[in-house]
């Protein structure tokens, strides 16, 4: 019966070393972007309400947080690129390539959110 349920070993993938890196490459940048969006919005909006100190302090806080999260996003992208170089096919390669696509997209989002900090007036 065992061979019936596992016909010819089909579906068995070799253990994937570095799965954590694959997952980080896949979702690290989008987690960073989510945090950046929420924290930047929260800090600046509260700053504009004058509830979290001065607007300038809120802006500085948002810039620092944002810069840190851009870095996290870039590291996730690099992790995906590195993983892609180490695997050539199968599910791991798919996840690595997926990480490059997803993290690449979210790094653009992270940079866009970072850049607008210097382009738009904080509270109008």
């Amino acid at each position: 019966m065992s061979s019936v349920l596992r016909p010819d070993g089909a579906g068995r993938a070799p253990p994937q070393a570095g799965d954590a890196r694959l997952w980080f490459g896949l979702f690290g940048a989008c987690a960073a972007w989510s945090l950046q969006e929420l924290l930047s919005y929260g800090l600046v909006a509260r700053g504009c309400l004058d509830l979290a100190g001065s607007v300038a302090a809120a802006h500085r806080g948002a810039t620092a947080v944002s810069a840190g999260l851009v870095l996290v996003g870039v590291i996730a992208l690099l992790a995906a690129v590195t993983a892609l170089r180490r695997v050539d096919r199968g599910r791991a390669a798919f996840m690595a390539l997926g990480g490059v696509v997803v993290s690449g997209t979210f790094v653009v989002g992270l940079l866009a959110n970072f850049v607008v900090l210097f382009l738009a007036p904080a509270c109008g």
């Binding site: 019966m1 065992s2 019936v4 349920l5 596992r6 016909p7 010819d8 089909a10 579906g11 068995r12 993938a13 989008c30 972007w33 989510s34 969006e37 930047s40 919005y41 600046v44 909006a45 509260r46 504009c48 309400l49 509830l51 802006h59 199968g90 599910r91 390669a93 798919f94 996840m95 390539l97 997926g98 696509v101 997803v102 997209t105 979210f106 653009v108 989002g109 866009a112 959110n113 850049v115 607008v116 900090l117 382009l119 738009a120 007036p121 904080a122 509270c123 109008g124």
Partner: protein, 833 residues
């Protein structure tokens, strides 16, 4: 187009499997069916009916707007029609029709015999149907929802809308979220756990990426709508003040909550439609989809980005420029994954050998409309330009290009593509071409001029307008186009009905398509696959045609013909982990959905007795549902393979465990949105927050310790049964029940000691709602514990057979963790300043 032979079992095996899987004949059999194919077709038919009803409402409105100064409808009638049109199309057509496809197709696409939770699937359908009927029953009393599909407060509060109109809306939508949430959990668990051996993550049919992403999005976005609707209902009928600015509430809180849900919902109704196109396109281009990984990941990226753009619906509400810019940037970035998908489709056509059949026509139309709708979306994402566009017909044009262009054209392509599989007959090609051109020309004639009406300043949601403002001609064109488009939709229905009766026989694979659903006869037998296939590529039916392609196995593999069985596989690599025994048909899903309907009418009529009676009925039905009558006490669905040592090694999370984790995830989101509301109201409060000073901790502090202790006793109980100690399980559950009851009692005492009631001000409203929701979860947890405790007394559990205990333990820990967040936010936070 070549037709490949289906994989057929021997007559004896066919009869045996049919006897096991087929729904009993007769009305009761039909009502109790949990067959995914039956449920999928019911979803499709019901959603198409809602499309017709919503379309009829639009047709009446377009008559009114064809000329200026027309008074065919009164303002109140018009308000009800445009609201019901939007609500119907967005909630009861656009998403459910996609659920119809997914329900019918998923097990066939992944080589399974059913969805992970077939009864939950039936329940999802019945609640979808009854919630729609519930909202439409508002017409019977002449009080249909009339505040627009996004029901902005304060227009929709009791002061400005005292009738039942918005009560139907708020209760009906929460009712529908029940259907969508359980459906989403079912889809996710199915794709994670029921795939054919070998169908690793990189071999998933591309269609599944769209619906899986949409299902995750639903789990995390729907709770925001639930919170908003509960608050609206409470403000209207219980006198709370969430949106009442005179008492510390914030009207903009509604907009935040609604759009945190609303924008992901756009992708929920779009991504699966994109998936249909990505799935069907290769069959007509005679080549695999170009950039599979890119399209799959673009889908995931879009779903996640969809959560970060909600404020672009609120650009005209006075939000400061920099916060707006973050959301504007995100709204522009979302064009990247959309463009990836478009270029992948174009490249597939470019590199393939296109066969111009009706499904491909609709797919081509879809791509064109997708691009137009996307470009107008970029326009509205630009904050400065959006100031000019907000609440004009430009936005109406944009949303129709997105929702009709992408959804309806994608869906119609899907209908033409999979109709042969569903019925065994081809749809008429001649009618299909007429169908496409009438719909395509009518749609563009109708909806493109709306852009111009909007740019000329015509506001949306006006029941009529003065002639001579330059809008008449464009509106007349829109009306003519809308009627032509409606004619196209009618042609589709004619073709469906005609072909159902007289279409040419289709055979198993009339399009020579590459995926598993085309390996079985058309229509598929009740058991789907005679043997569970083994997969080694993304195109199991095209293996051998492509150089270097590995061959899977469609004809030999496990038969699983002894009972209602299918395979359970691992989430990432689809290795066999177990065999699942699937549940029989049952009337319980229908009865439970009826009980929920009664509860909704009880809430609508504010009849406590009706609501309580329905609640008791629901409790009884749910317990009956989960009680393992006539089956082995624990693991009734599972562990057959493990018991017979066919599969060894540590078992990964079971479908039931995944279901519980996903339930916890969506419930966690619900509390997240409640706490967001608390902090939002606090941040904008004009006076001290809380108004009466920080809350007293004398009762709540020891009560928190009581609840934490109950987590310890439950963990002790669960670890006991892992070691086979049934006595420890019973003692631990008993202690947990006691501690949980003490917690609720002390919370009641604390409520009585509060100097304010829930209607005192916005703080009081949110305080009682957050703690009350948590208390309700504790109460539900206690009921679950009581049921599991009773089963423990009856000896249902042993070492290795305790999944229900583990699931309830997780739920109980979750309730405790939520309380820690509530305690830190509502009690400790104010003391810390």
């Amino acid at each position: 187009v070549a037709a490949s032979a289906p994989v057929l079992p021997s007559p004896a095996l066919h009869d045996r499997l049919l006897k096991i899987w087929e729904t009993r004949p007769g009305l009761l059999g039909a009502l109790g069916s949990v067959d995914h194919k039956t449920i999928g077709k019911r979803y499709l038919a019901t959603a198409l009916l809602f499309l017709l009803v919503g379309g009829a409402e639009a047709a009446i409105m377009r008559l009114q707007l064809a000329h200026g100064d027309t008074h065919l409808l009164s303002p109140e009638q018009y308000n009800q029609l445009f609201t019901m049109h939007g609500v119907t199309m967005i909630f009861w057509y656009a998403a459910p029709i996609l659920s119809g496809f997914s329900n019918f197709l998923w097990p066939l696409l992944i080589g399974s015999r059913d969805m992970a939770f077939p009864r939950l699937n039936a329940f999802s359908y019945w609640t979808f149907l009854f919630s729609g009927l519930f909202v439409y029953s508002s017409f019977v009393v002449g009080q249909a929802p009339d505040g627009g599909w996004f029901a902005y407060v304060p227009l929709t509060t009791a002061s400005y809308s005292p009738g039942l109109n918005l009560d139907f809306y708020a209760i009906g939508l929460v009712f529908l979220t029940l259907s969508t949430t359980v459906g989403a959990i079912n889809f996710i668990v199915t794709v994670l756990k029921l795939r054919a051996p070998g169908m690793s993550l990189d071999r998933l049919p591309i269609y599944l990426w769209g619906t899986t992403t949409a299902s995750f999005a639903a789990l995390f976005s729907l709770p925001s709508l639930t919170v908003a609707c509960v608050m609206l209902y409470l403000d209207r009928r219980a006198g709370t003040h969430f949106f009442d600015s005179a008492s510390g509430g914030q009207p903009l809180l509604w907009q935040h909550l609604f759009w945190i849900f609303g924008h992901p919902w756009v992708y929920i109704v779009v991504l699966p439609a994109m998936g249909i196109v990505s799935q069907a396109l290769p069959a007509f281009c005679r080549r695999p989809l170009v950039g599979y990984a890119f399209v799959a990941m673009a889908t995931v990226s879009t779903g996640i980005l969809g959560f970060g753009v909600w404020v672009h619906h609120m650009f005209a509400t006075g939000i400061a420029p920099l916060p707006m810019s973050f959301f504007s940037a995100a709204s522009l970035v979302i064009t990247i994954p959309s463009a990836v998908a478009v270029f992948a489709w174009l490249a597939t056509v470019w590199q393939g050998r296109p066969v111009m059949r009706t499904p491909l026509l609709f797919m081509a139309g879809f791509v064109m409309l997708f691009v137009i709708g996307g470009v107008s979306g970029v326009a509205t994402a630009a904050a400065a330009f959006d100031q000019q566009l907000t609440d004009t017909y430009f936005v109406v044009a944009h949303l129709h290009y997105v929702l009709v262009g992408i959804n309806v054209f994608g869906v119609t392509a899907g209908l033409y593509y999979w109709f042969p599989k569903m019925t065994g007959r081809m749809m008429s090609e001649r009618l299909g071409r007429w169908n496409f051109w009438v719909m395509f020309l009518g749609f563009n004639l109708g909806f493109f001029p709306m852009h111009i009406s909007g740019l000329l300043g015509m506001p949306r949601r006006v029941y009529t307008y003065p002639s001579g403002l330059g809008w008449d001609g464009w509106n007349l064109l829109t009306t003519v186009g809308a009627y032509v488009f409606a004619g196209g939709v009618l042609l589709l229905l004619v073709n469906l009905l005609y072909s159902r009766a007289r279409g040419a026989p289709a055979g198993a694979n009339p399009w020579d398509a590459p995926t598993l659903e085309w390996a079985v006869p058309s229509p598929p037998p009740a058991y789907n696959f005679a043997v569970i296939p083994t997969v080694r590529s993304r195109h199991p039916l095209w293996e051998g045609r492509r150089a270097g392609g590995a061959a899977g196995a469609l004809t030999d593999g496990p038969v699983l013909g002894e009972d209602k069985l299918t395979l359970e596989t691992s989430a990432l690599d689809a290795e066999v982990t177990d065999v699942l025994r699937m549940p029989e048909d049952s009337l319980l899903p229908l009865l439970l959905a009826l009980a929920v309907t009664v509860l909704c009418y009880g809430l609508l009529l504010r009849s406590v007795s009706l609501a309580v009676a329905a609640g008791v009925l629901m409790l009884g039905l749910t317990t009956t549902w989960l009680w393992p009558f006539g089956r082995r006490a624990e693991g009734a669905m599972t562990t057959i393979a493990r018991e017979t040592a066919m599969v060894e090694g540590a078992r990964p999370l079971s479908p039931g465990a995944w279901g519980m984790l996903l339930l916890i995830a969506t419930e966690g989101s619900l509390f997240g949105y409640l706490l967001f509301s608390y902090f939002y109201l606090g941040a904008l409060a004009r006076g001290p927050w809380p108004p009466n000073g920080p809350p007293d901790l004398h009762l709540v502090l020891p009560n928190t310790l009581v609840l934490l202790l109950s987590s310890g006793t439950m963990a002790w109980a669960e670890s006991g049964i892992r070691r086979g100690r049934a006595g420890r399980l019973r003692a631990g559950i008993g202690l947990t029940l006691l501690l949980g009851a003490v917690f609720l009692f002390v919370q009641g005492v604390e409520y009585r000691a509060q100097p304010f009631g829930p209607t005192a001000n916005a703080y009081a409203s949110v305080f009682y709602t957050v703690t009350g929701f948590h208390g309700a979860h504790v109460a539900v947890g206690l009921v679950m514990l009581a049921v599991v405790g009773l089963r423990a007394v009856l000896g249902h559990f042993a070492a290795g057979r305790h999944e229900a205990v583990t699931n309830v333990t997780w739920y109980w820990h979750f309730v405790d963790v939520v309380w820690l967040a509530v305690f830190a936010s509502l009690y400790l936070g104010p003391h810390l300043g």
